[in-house]
Amino acid sequence: MNVAAGLDLQSIPDRIQAEVQRAIQRSIKGVEYFASSGPSLGSTPKDILHVRGTMNLYHYRPVSDEIYRVPILIVMATTNRGYILDMVPGQSFIEFLLKRGYDVYMLDWSAPKPEEKSLRIEDYVLDFIPDCVRRVQRDSGETDVTVIGYCFGGVLSLLYGSIFADGPMKNLICFTTPVDFREMKLFQNFSDKRYFDVDRLIDSVGNVPPEMILSSFEMLRPASRAASQVQLWENIWNDEYVKSYRMFDRWAIDTLPLAGEYFRQITKDLMWENKLYNDVMSVGGRKADISKITVPMLHGVAEHDHIVPYDAAKPLIQKIGSTDKEEVILKGGHVSLVAGANAIKRLWPKLDSWLCERSI
């Protein structure tokens, strides 16, 4: 060992050889990358139970010999596609739940059409979610339903649960769900009331274009896209890395537009007036007070979430009326909390151990 340099001189030829091999592999795989399509995502067998406009209700086919009594309805965030929870076999949250014996349904969204620009929070909370819950009840033959909401799907689930506090929701699980919108500091600044004319925007575009949603997410970490492309090039010889990169990249750019009126309400009621946190939120004239929710509740939050910072999600556990409630803070970010290697070893087993006892 060359002590002065701290470098093992004997290893240098091996290292050079390995780097040359990788450089050759990069050239070969780089061509393959552009010539091939990415992995097929969201392929866990499912049946489409109902489609109405932007709303899609799926039922995933059970794989266990016996299943828990209480079915699960996953409410996806309205900005993104539900296949983040069903990437590829071995890395699918849905597949994990099915193998652990749960009966799984998902309320997923497709892009709202121009004629759906007038959809409001009311449509999501008082119509779409209750409609799906009824269909899950009918299809499963069970009255109780566990609701899992991811990100803004969690906000919609909270609004639904607080208005329909008498049931049929049996358990509520939220992932990275914001409650105190003042703490979403960068989004607050992007939508600063003094400069952001939401009325003018919605009146001119109808539905908020997906490019705008995507760029507002990317602006939170402006260097990350360029850095991830450098990392991709470095690791392009590594098939597993490339597969994972393509899955997450495809999902991240597959952002959905948002219905104009819905976006206008979110901006005014939640971003500007913070009504959910201030306990003055109402939906279609019905008060939505999250302290009315008393069912068992689990909130999974990520330590390094740049989209929903922990301070924005933290008050949920304090405000909810449930006595059986738990917050788990796990390593990871907004997406790695629910999908990928981090989620497989952290969130999913935790959720299973919490939910199995409450699903009988």
Binding site: G6, R15, I67, P114, L186, D192
Partner: protein
């Protein structure tokens, strides 16, 4: 084995990671200012309006060229998905009507559902 702190590849990767973090932190700081919000919203407002106009123009152009627009293709794909869903419902209904007289394919919508009798591992002693 080479010391990681002197490994040029590890140093390069580390540098990229640090640059990313540093730039993100710097940009986030800048984005917290009201001036940033003002400029972004001025530019954003103009570009959203322009984008809408461009979209409308493109739509008209494609209609004149007798070509489908992106929105029409997306709508077509969603309608196909809807038809697929309805076909599945009809299939499930047909299986119900026939009272499972013909054995359904494994995994088909009408395949018998497993019983809802599963107990948690701690209650039933089942290993995870």
């Amino acid at each position: 084995m080479a010391d990681k702190s002197n490994d040029p590849v590890a140093m390069w990767q580390n540098m990229i990671g640090e640059m990313e973090k540093g730039f993100n932190a710097f940009a986030n700081k800048a984005m917290e200012s009201p001036e940033f919000s003002k400029v972004v919203n001025q530019v954003g407002g103009v570009s959203a309006g322009a984008q809408r106009q461009l979209g409308d123009m493109m739509e008209k152009y494609l209609v004149n060229m007798n070509l489908p627009s992106r929105a029409q293709m997306a709508s077509m794909a969603e309608r196909l998905q809807g038809i697929e869903g309805q076909l599945n419902e009809i299939k499930a209904l047909l299986h119900q009507v026939h009272g499972n007289s013909a054995a359904p394919e494994a995994g088909s919508p009408a395949a018998p559902r497993p019983p809802r009798t599963k107990r948690p591992p701690s209650a039933g002693g089942e290993p995870k």
